[in-house]
């Protein structure tokens, strides 16, 4: 347990043949998306070139909410089955969700600056996406505390309950904010022209595909990273106990502490 692993038997990394293929495809897709976003798709009539930001904004928004759903789902599954896999998935998905939500807010804010002249507007979607951001951060803060709480068998219900409520809360907040802001908005410039078609629609779809692939790639790596952290957490403790026992000259099993 205390000898270093034999690295020659496989590079020490969270990568795998699958992720390398996925990663390569994602990069290629990203390049294609850049091409379409900037070169091969036209500017919008109303928004002009601001629409090119939508090709990041909309996909990251979809991924962020999906990732949040995954965290809720994983929390629910953990409550039923208490397996490490679901436990780790919840945190991994939430952290990747934070990154996507942040980028979504950033691109949305810049888009707003171009179109409306301000970085912030009490638009229902910016507001509820910001709330999603904060909800995720709260969840991750709780997770960090919960994982330091020691015995893995005991901790977890706290985070799981909060995780379980994450997506429902996001939906309730989104619904409330939407209803609230709809009282004040006249002819809304919706984020996306509903009659979007042609190359722009294709670019948007491509964006969704590419960012979904990016999400999966990031999620897999983050999941494996957390998985290793869990392993190290438990083996680290075992190793430390073993060393203490060895120092005390106590046999590994059945000795008094």
């Amino acid at each position: 347990m205390t000898t270093p692993p034999d690295v020659a038997s496989g590079r020490a990394t969270t990568g795998s043949p699958g992720t390398r293929v996925l990663g390569g495809l994602t990069l290629a897709g990203l390049a294609l998306l850049l091409g379409y976003s900037f070169l091969w798709s036209p500017a919008d009539i109303a928004q002009q070139d601001a629409v090119r930001l939508m090709y990041v904004h909309v996909p990251t928004s979809i991924v962020a909410f999906t990732a949040c759903f995954i965290t809720t789902f994983a929390s629910a599954m953990w409550l039923r089955r208490k397996s490490d896999g679901w436990w780790v998935l919840g945190a991994a998905s939430a952290e990747v969700a934070v990154v996507f939500t942040g980028v979504c807010l950033l691109t949305g804010s810049i888009w707003g600056r171009i179109t409306w002249g301000t970085y912030w507007d009490w638009d229902p979607r910016i507001t509820s996406t910001t709330m999603l951001f904060i909800l995720l951060i709260g969840y991750l803060a709780l997770r960090r505390i919960d994982s330091e709480a020691g015995d893995p068998a005991q901790r977890g219900a706290r985070s799981a309950i909060v995780g379980l409520l994450l997506f429902p809360n996001v939906m309730i907040v989104h619904f409330s904010v939407d209803w609230w802001r709809s009282l004040h908005q006249t002819a809304t410039i919706t984020r996306l022209d509903p009659t979007i078609e042609g190359t722009m629609l294709f670019t948007l779809m491509l964006g969704i595909v590419v960012f979904s692939m990016l999400f999966v790639w990031l999620l897999i790596h983050r999941f494996r990273l957390s998985w290793i952290e869990e392993r190290l957490g438990s083996t680290g403790l075992d190793a430390a106990i073993g060393e203490r026992r060895a120092e005390a000259g106590v046999p590994a099993m059945g000795g008094t502490v």
Binding site: M1, Q48, D49, A50, L106
Partner: protein
């Protein structure tokens, strides 16, 4: 540079987004590598 309106904003938006994803990906993979080196190969069931 192709003649876009709001070039600066577009560049900033896309640029920062890609930078954030790149940085996060790099950080995750690097942490993964350093931690994976500390556990025995059998625990790494994916490579």
């Amino acid at each position: 540079m192709l003649a876009f309106t709001h070039v600066g904003f577009l560049a900033a938006g896309w640029g920062i987004s890609l930078a954030v994803f790149g940085a996060y990906a790099l950080r995750t993979v690097r942490r993964g590598r350093s931690l994976a080196a500390q556990i025995p190969p059998e625990a790494r069931r994916w490579s």
